[in-house]
Symmetry: C2
Subunit: 377 residues, 2 copies
């Protein structure tokens, strides 16, 4: 087996658990947040900076890497780890979500998806077999099955057919997967926002016997209470001893709520994306450091944070960097948001360990007045 997963402790008052996920590139404490390195780089960051803040696993995007620089080039470079100088774990998605996001540029058929490149308009085809072939070439520690991610909102009938297609594709992915000794392939549960479809998808996908399971299609769902309901419906049907991954979700509130519902793994572009717009996460909610209000504010982004950015730079300086279009501003804000999120995961694991996760949740949401409504997931 490419990975080993152990649940170390189950929270008595919620569905949360702490665990250890062992891959060929290291041991990861769960619940874990995985920074996203779409194009073989976590935007603005070096691998050393990510490791210094405790990152154990990052995500790479199969669609993007297939399009540019190409999976065969990365294979010749010795795989994605070697290509990007990252010696810890990598999870690659299947490309399903990105291809789904192409909208009119793609056509979904039983055999796979025909689409046009977002870069040059060239024609491409990704099937379950192709998605596995690409990920085998990339050499990620954890691969994802090729799924159809339905839009939101989505009619019941479409969602049902889509869910069934995702199951048939999942079987084809399992058959196509070559490197089972060094790469673990996870299945993805779909079913849109329909409880019965989510349950049925969970039953079908888990019956195929993957080493780990993801809940997909919820990062496109706008209301978070729907996402949480779907998790409550789905997670209990996933084998207890397998890692559970909530795809594309990672706002601070959703991390806590997801963990409470039994999720072990998260990824999200939110941290790095809002950073590049001059918005940072703090213990008192979001702060738009670009705003004129911070022009002469010589305090750190978050007075409770001990990251490199907060130890060395003021809001006024970081605002200046953004106003002047200086790259260091993007670096400092990105660094802070990732550090903030990884420290939140530390706190969550500690809270599970010491049985105060509900109190951590309350403190985080109430005492610190986190602006939940304003956060995307």
């Amino acid at each position: 087996m490419a990975i080993e997963f152990k649940v170390l402790k189950q929270c008595k008052r919620t569905g949360a658990r702490i665990g250890e996920l062992k891959t060929p590139h290291g041991v990861i404490k769960t619940p874990v947040f995985m920074p996203v390195g779409t194009q073989a780089t976590v935007k603005t960051m070096t691998p050393e900076e990510l490791k210094d803040m405790g990152t154990g696993i990052i995500l790479g995007n199969t669609y993007h890497l297939y399009m540019r620089p190409g999976h065969e080039l990365i294979m010749r470079a010795g795989g994605l780890h070697n290509f990007m100088n990252w010696d810890r774990s990598i999870l690659t998605d299947s490309g399903g979500f990105q291809v789904f996001s192409l909208g009119n540029l793609r056509e979904i058929k039983e055999e796979g998806v025909h689409f046009r490149s977002h870069i040059d308009g060239s024609r491409h085809f990704i099937s379950p077999e192709k998605a596995v072939e690409i990920q085998n070439a990339l050499g990620s520690d954890i691969m994802m099955a090729f799924d159809e991610c339905p839009p939101y909102p989505c009619h019941y009938d479409y969602a049902k057919d889509s869910m069934a297609l995702t199951t048939r594709w999942a079987e084809r992915c399992l058959k196509a997967h070559k490197n089972t000794k060094t790469q673990a392939l996870f299945g993805i549960i779909q079913g849109s926002v329909y409880r019965d479809l989510r349950r049925e998808s969970a039953r079908q996908i888990t019956s195929l016997g993957f080493p780990g399971y993801a809940v997909g299609g919820l990062s496109v769902v706008e209301p978070k209470d729907i996402m949480y309901s779907m998790l409550e419906e789905t997670v209990p049907l996933i084998p207890y001893q397998k890692p559970r991954y909530l795809m594309g979700v990672g706002s601070p509130d959703a991390l806590i709520e997801g963990v409470i519902r039994g999720i072990d793994m998260f990824d999200c572009v939110l941290q790095t994306r809002i950073a590049r717009n001059g918005t940072v996460m703090t213990s008192r909610g979001r702060l738009v450091v670009r705003n004129a209000a911070y022009a002469e504010d010589f305090s750190p982004l978050d007075p409770e944070c001990d990251c490199y950015t907060c130890k060395n730079y003021s809001r006024a300086y970081i605002r200046h960097l953004f106003k002047a279009n200086e790259i260091l501003g993007l670096r400092l804000a990105t660094h802070h948001n990732l550090y903030f999120t990884l420290r939140l995961m530390d706190k969550i694991r500690e809270a599970i360990e010491r049985d105060f996760l509900p109190e951590l949740r309350d403190e985080f949401f109430i005492k610190y007045g986190y602006q939940m409504k304003n956060m995307q997931h």
Copy 2:
């Protein structure tokens, strides 16, 4: 005195010398290359990265900092060092060159320069007194007198009047300078490409008794042989025990040639600017890593370089980052170019110390086939 300068050794075969420049923020070995931090940041880099590669002094641009975020804000932040988290030395230019570069947006008069902001078109006025006031607020270790930098080419009569104006402005700067104990004010020698004007300017400016002298207006001169002639004319007239700074010049070949002609200090945006266009300096000349030729080249940018970039990343990866518009590409290329240049300065100082500077020059230009013709200065 804010600074102390000692010539430690004079090259027997050229005008080169090694020295030590002591400022309130440290001791700098000369000849020195100063990375440019135009807007209170050396583009893409953290202060720690600059220090790790041995940077002892950086340059800040008075015009840019005056426009944004404003020198008074920086003063309230505790000065430029504190604002940008840089605890080593800073030299600020006077804004003269930037204002000169505004072209039609500025009008030069005896009292100073009236101009419009390149950001919002607002009207401004910088006089010698104002340039000193701004630099006093910034708190740089070395300040530059406000000069007129004439265009190239330039008629003799214009150059002569301009040179005389620069002298009158230099006197006014000396009178206006408040913090002589913590900030050293350097004079600037002008005179375009006219030998007699350069000599006259050197005599006039040095007669005013500055703690250091710059040769200005040569980074706008296209043919390098003209620049070298002007240095040969000017440098011998600068008091031997004072530091000599060639403004805005810093291509590898010009660094060597400038040192040979007695220059102690250099600054240039070339290193960081070409890096952001995907061009790097190597021991075998320039390399445009964006080029398709490097798509599958898994060797480092410069096989002879031991910088962070060259130790960890391939040309193929860096090219991918540039093609994908990833910020890490700009970081890695900038890091390499600055490291390459600082190591070249190390080699130059060692060559002076051990009396083989002419041999270093020949080796650098001939053996390595440096593409001098293609380098800007």
